[in-house]
């Protein structure tokens, strides 16, 4: 095992000072922030010791309010109070309208693929609204912990597609967070439970939140959390329970036609109240005033409620069956079933899940907090507070990635449930003489037709050297990183020309919009941005210098010639000088020069560490 530690170049270099890192559960209904303090993972409360922050943002003429206060405003000023914004991330206006036809918001029609909401005196996009929630949590953490944060792990539903993940990451960056990792919510819950019970075996995580449903099947062994399969529905959750209750209320009370925004909000609140009350009681009566100030009253029994949600619950169980099949497991091979998300408080859901798996699901960690707890444990490790930690998470791609081919069909390039990171290359050729450009359409989903999958991006390869039809070989590489985010690279093989790619995401924001938003937020921020950026670059320069010097000391003599060592040393001298001055561009340049000078060395070190470790393994087993 000692060999393993030698082989971790990034971690072994410097002695460690404890850094502050948090885990954030950005939920549809509520959000939370947690951290590890004195070895204990715990969620952080506000001044009133409230831990759950309602994911509600209310916009007034000169202010933005987040949380409990905003939630109270929801029925008073529904159009300017954004509730459950997570459902809109990475979605088109059409998606949003067809999934949630009764929303009280005023959407701008001008760009349906990147929806904007008109609120008091301004326009905001879902990324900005989400970033308000994340900013509130960041400020809370900084206030409680009394220091700036080094980084954050932000959770997402496992079933989130690329656009939804990218939207989440953008929101976190906009909120001034350094994102260490996007972590899948069920995986986070598994960490919290897995480290708690220290059991080895297969666990199923059933995660029914406010707006999303996920099922993940994981295998735990020797600190490795390997996700075997994941499935779910990113538009099914406890909010849908509320909606079926509202529908029932309307039928019973004869409330037909379009409701006023206020009455609709009131009905939703009452439905939520009824749902929550029915977790403990067998029936509940709600009353409220209609638009004519007439008081209406209605009772609903637990049995009726269970009848209303039976179909929704059944569809979650269908996803469980599918995930087990994908994992090539039978129900009885599942050691434990973990319940996550506020909606798993509904007794009927617990019963049905228990019946399906043939065992009582675990609910010992608060289902509202378990995701944030797991996320902060991972953040603590990633930020470097536990350099010898054995824990490792192997997650999967939730939805297949593919390309549009002739006839509007999708050819899958990377299948769902493939372990990430993953890279797959696909070759294309030109079909016309002298063709210099080519259009590529990337999609995500399991269906065969382009129209049934989610369009991620369309891009054009340009600068292909003119050749006869079929002579050019364009190699397009799809790379999915540990966050589940896609990156595309392209190259013409025979000429070695790196084709230029312009990726325009189909939904959400493109890179220039994001950088504009970042710039705008920096202008509003207090303090000297320039100074902060300089400080960051100087820290990065010092880090690169230190790591590279340590690497040279450790392996330089073994892997490099004297001349090669000299080249790298020279780049280090330049880097050292630049890092002590205050020219940001010069520092950046010196960092990339040092990176370039040591590129081959870094690759050799990686291969060398692998060879050494595997050779050690063979010796061990003899």
């Amino acid at each position: 095992m000692a060999l393993l530690q030698i082989a971790e170049p990034g971690l072994s270099a410097a002695p460690h000072q404890r850094k502050l890192a948090v885990g954030i559960d950005l939920g549809t209904t509520n959000s939370l922030v947690a951290t590890v303090r004195s070895g204990q993972a715990e969620t952080l409360g506000d001044n009133n010791n409230q831990h759950l922050l309602p994911s509600v943002v209310s916009y007034t003429a000169d202010n933005v309010v987040v949380g409990e206060q905003a939630k109270r405003d929801a029925s008073l000023d529904p159009a300017n109070t954004i509730v459950s914004v997570k459902r809109f991330l990475g979605r088109s206006l059409n998606d949003i309208r067809s999934s949630y036809p009764d929303l009280p918001y005023d959407f701008d029609e001008s760009n349906p693929n990147s929806p904007l909401l008109n609120v008091t005196g301004r326009q905001v996009n879902p990324v900005e609204v989400s970033s308000e929630i994340l900013t509130a949590l960041r400020l809370r953490a900084e206030q409680v912990l009394g220091e700036e944060l080094s980084g954050a792990v932000v959770t997402v539903p496992a079933y989130f597609d690329d656009a939804q993940r990218q939207g989440t990451k953008d929101a976190a960056q906009l909120a001034g967070l350094k994102v260490l990792r996007l972590l899948n919510e069920p995986t986070a819950a598994a960490i919290a439970y897995g480290l708690d019970t220290a059991q080895e075996g297969v666990i199923a995580v059933y995660d029914l939140g406010g707006g999303t449903f996920d099922i993940s099947i994981l295998r735990l062994s020797k600190g490795v959390f390997e996700v075997l399969a994941t499935g779910g529905d990113s538009a099914l959750g406890g909010d849908d329970f509320d909606h079926v209750i509202v529908k029932y209320f309307r039928q019973q009370l004869g409330l037909e036609g379009t409701l006023s925004k206020r009455l609709h909000r009131v009905l939703l609140d009452k439905a939520k109240f009824a749902k929550e009350t029915l977790s403990d009681k067998n029936s509940v009566t709600v009353d409220f005033a209609d638009d004519e100030q007439k008081t209406l009253s209605l009772s609903i029994s637990r049995e009726t409620f269970e009848g209303l949600i039976a179909d929704l619950t059944k569809s979650t169980l269908r996803a469980c069956r599918r995930a087990l099949k994908d994992a090539e497991l039978e129900k009885d091979e599942v050691l434990e079933v973990v319940m996550v998300g506020g909606s798993t408080r509904v007794p009927y859901v617990r019963e049905q899940v228990g019946e399906f798996f043939g065992q009582t699901p675990l609910t010992s960690i608060d289902p509202d907090k378990v995701v944030a707890i797991g996320a902060c444990i991972q953040a603590d490790i990633l930020v470097g507070n536990k350099p010898d930690g054995e824990m490792l998470l192997l997650d999967v791609l939730p939805l297949s990635l593919g390309l549009e081919t002739m006839g509007g069909l999708v050819e899958k390039v990377i299948h769902r449930n493939t372990t990430i990171p993953v890279a797959k290359a696909q070759e294309f050729t030109t079909f016309k003489d002298g063709q210099t450009a080519m259009m590529i359409h990337v999609l995500q989903g399991e269906r065969e037709l382009v129209d049934d999958c989610r369009s991620l991006a369309k891009f054009t390869l340009r600068g292909i050297p003119p050749m006869a039809a079929g002579a050019a070989h364009i190699r397009v590489t799809f790379q999915v990183d540990a966050d589940g985010l896609l990156n595309v690279m392209a190259m013409e093989k025979s000429s070695g020309v790196q084709a230029e790619i312009q990726v325009k995401p189909s939904y959400g924001l493109d890179e220039s919009q994001i950088s504009d938003m970042l710039k705008a937020s920096m202008q509003n921020a207090t303090g000297d941005m320039q100074a902060r950026m300089l400080k960051e670059q100087q820290v990065e320069a010092a880090r690169v210098h230190e790591a590279l010097q340590a690497a040279l000391n450790a392996d330089g003599a073994e892997l490099l010639s004297a001349a090669e060592i000299d080249t790298i040393q020279a780049s280090l001298v330049v880097l050292d000088t630049a890092g002590k001055n205050d020219d940001i561009d010069a520092i950046k340049q010196a960092i990339s020069a040092a990176d370039a000078a040591s590129q081959i060395f870094a690759e050799k070190r990686m291969d060398h560490s692998i060879k050494k470790a595997l050779a050690g393994h063979t010796v061990d087993s003899i």
Binding site: L4, P9, G10, G384, L393, P421, V422, M606, I610, L614
Partner: protein, 175 residues
């Protein structure tokens, strides 16, 4: 990329699954990007690329058919992008017969049982061909490689057929 070398294995059709899995976990601990969270951007990228190779290598070596294909590829027999038509008449006849059975299964008195018995038949054939494939791959002369390549082509048909059976079974069992 020679995945056998990456996993410190001698190229062979017989791979010990436990050793493979243990090496995979060891490689994960060495290359996973999370182990480089505090490293420089460049080192993170190198880890990401190496880790993607480890993941792909594990998939290729774990599954018999892709393992065989990889062995042939290392011997210079490329099967990935070929457009070759199957010449074996008897095999094609058998294929057509099975496809008919697949189409007719839904009209059987017990469609699920009909599909399951068809699946059993195909599975038995896959098992037989895989053992023949292993024998050819142990030799490495050109004729044996060609025979092995032919078996890989046939097995691809059979795995595809099994997948289609599975889809029908799913449809019947209310997925």
């Amino acid at each position: 990329m020679n995945y056998f070398a990456l996993f410190n294995l001698t190229p062979s059709f017989d791979v010990d699954k436990a050793t493979l899995a243990a090496t995979y976990q060891q490689l994960q601990k060495l290359t996973h990007p999370d182990k480089f969270a505090t490293a420089s951007e460049r080192d993170k990228l190198i880890a990401l690329q190496k880790n993607a190779q480890v993941n792909d290598g594990y998939q290729v070596l774990k599954t018999p058919l892709s393992r065989a294909e990889h062995m042939l590829e290392l011997r210079g027999v490329e099967l990935q992008h070929e457009q070759k038509t199957m010449q074996d008449g008897a095999f094609l006849m058998q294929q057509m017969e099975w496809r008919e059975q697949l189409d007719e299964a839904q009209h059987a008195s017990d469609p699920l049982e009909a599909l399951e018995s068809l699946d059993d038949e195909v599975a038995a054939d896959i098992k037989r061909l895989l053992s023949e494939l292993g024998a050819f791959l142990e030799q490495s002369d050109e004729a044996a490689n060609e025979n092995a390549a032919n078996l890989v082509r046939k097995l691809k048909f059979l795995f595809k057929l099994r997948h289609e059976i599975e889809i029908k079974e799913d449809a019947l069992s209310d997925f």
